[in-house]
Symmetry: C2
Subunit: 341 residues, 2 copies
Amino acid sequence: MAATLADVAARAGVSTATVSRVLNGNYPVSAVTRERVHRALGELDYVVNGPARALAAATTEVIGVIVNDVSDPFFSIQASGTQWEAASADLLAVICNTAGSPSDELKYISMLLRQRVRGVVLTGGSREEPEHLRAITKLIGQALSAGTKVVMCGRPAPPDVDVPCVAFDNEGGARALTRHVLTMGHKRIAYVAGPAGNSTTTARLAGHGKALEEGEVETSVVVHGDFSRASGFDAAMELADSGVTAIIAGNDLMALGVIAALRQRGIRVPQDISVAGFDDLPAAVDVVPALTTVRLPLDQGARRAGRIASGVEVVTGPTKLWMPAELMVRESVAPPRRQTQ
Amino acid sequence: MAATLADVAARAGVSTATVSRVLNGNYPVSAVTRERVHRALGELDYVVNGPARALAAATTEVIGVIVNDVSDPFFSIQASGTQWEAASADLLAVICNTAGSPSDELKYISMLLRQRVRGVVLTGGSREEPEHLRAITKLIGQALSAGTKVVMCGRPAPPDVDVPCVAFDNEGGARALTRHVLTMGHKRIAYVAGPAGNSTTTARLAGHGKALEEGEVETSVVVHGDFSRASGFDAAMELADSGVTAIIAGNDLMALGVIAALRQRGIRVPQDISVAGFDDLPAAVDVVPALTTVRLPLDQGARRAGRIASGVEVVTGPTKLWMPAELMVRESVAPPRRQTQ
DNA sequence: ACGCTGATAGTAAGCGCTTTCTACGACAGG
DNA sequence: CCTGTCGTAGAAAGCGCTTACTATCAGCGT
């Protein structure tokens, strides 16, 4: 149906090699010939056959991005940044939603490898069980030995795997945030963490823990959600009467849920209970009270990852690219009322 | 580097044809042979070469999705739905951000066509200028004649183009919303529309206009934003002192901006000015006051589009699939104060 | 004049897979 | 026993491109 190089060549009265050359501009072709080829190209509405080119040239113009869920702003911001960088390298980006499922993650990586993508960006990350880690390590090994770039974005590389790694300072951010809450005078604090085992959860929890150790704390409780708004809501319903004066959520989505739950219970934020989040999603400024949270340069990090996966930027060795976290002090955290003491 | 079919065949002591057959399971192979091939496959860590297969089979396992910006929830929700459906058809989804630029849109469609994707979902949509329309019509024609499915999602097909079209009832939703505002007693109303020329803007504006005609209105003013929060903010700054009692925004993002601006000006929502949005983004319930808006079944529509583009669902003729809008009455619209009369 | 060089263009050998067509036993029917 | 069938497997011809390698033809130095 579609015109092929041979059709164009015939029409222009040249060989396919010549057409290929004017298409790729990697070999001198005389001006008149080039002109003739261009005309034929236009007249036939020629469209390069990507798979054929990929087969012959042994390289594609595609990279892959693996996220938990593009409809979650945390990931969509990253996906967008990566896609953007891919586009400026003239590459397409295929985006895969794992919904946090390790098996889906493996399935998608295999599919991408099968497509011989130029590079893969792995974001998010699921429970890091040994078995999964082993499987993913093997896939990464295959990818690497096939020349496919692999970049971790916001998650650690599996042990003994040498891939560049865009690391957001979750621990530092969480520590600064909890320290801020402590500084405000809170002594009874609840932390609504993300799913256990998740590397992001772990890092944030660690930062939180360090800050707690450094401060004076009466009560500290940790419960686990799953990073969804609903899980934050549920957690807050439990926590509402526990006597804590501050609830720190593992991400903004859960913080939003926490605020909604507290409001529903008639508890004022921050007068009765302070709430903090993490990520600084766009919505953080629209909530009332505006959310005190931690900003991660997700877009920047993802772009960096995208540039590496696209081959625009070359890094060597087991490079860890640290992206700093920034505390965003707004209104949802205030000093506790001196209560019942 | 990577093992090929021939390597596997050699190792299993069979022909490549046989290996191909056990891989695809589309031809009888005896149990013992199959077993031997499977072993060889495993031992060599064989990974199918997608481009080669695509070339030989003249079909890929990929669809494309074109959006304005995946980091905008309006689009990320759609992208996610489409991707999900693609995945359940074992296809990958490449996602392209046009940032609303017609030329980028054309560029991406060409790139997708070059990749010989199975189908393309076009969402969003930019200014629909004749020239662009013509170009896009041509590309769609090429796609169609190459057997690539094309589906419009939330935007009209160009004139004389026969493609299935998932249509959200923007006009009906806008009409219901404005009617609701009028019912509450507002007579001086401002509408912050999306970018002029955009088909979604036009439809919503039309619905708004019809409702206005049906009601009693003293003042009505329309200004244009660009669907971004910032543009809503700016518009509201202008409108704050205009004496309107209600501001209807063309989407939730702008409504959020409007609310923020009004708050900054010390104007209470909804006591002083009511605000309404459109889309029912997740954040709509977290704002204070909760946003009265219109819900569009974006996810459902996008999934439908994804299924069509994947070839799972077959529609024939110039089918228009209407997706209903639903008015979400919350707290940001209230009766106007009887003022200064 | 003659071989050389440099600039262009053509030839053809793949890239790794799918698939049609053919080949080969084994087995049953006449 | 011969032939027609059925069930498997192999041979080989592409799919549409890229890219050595080769060929051609000016122009040039000697």
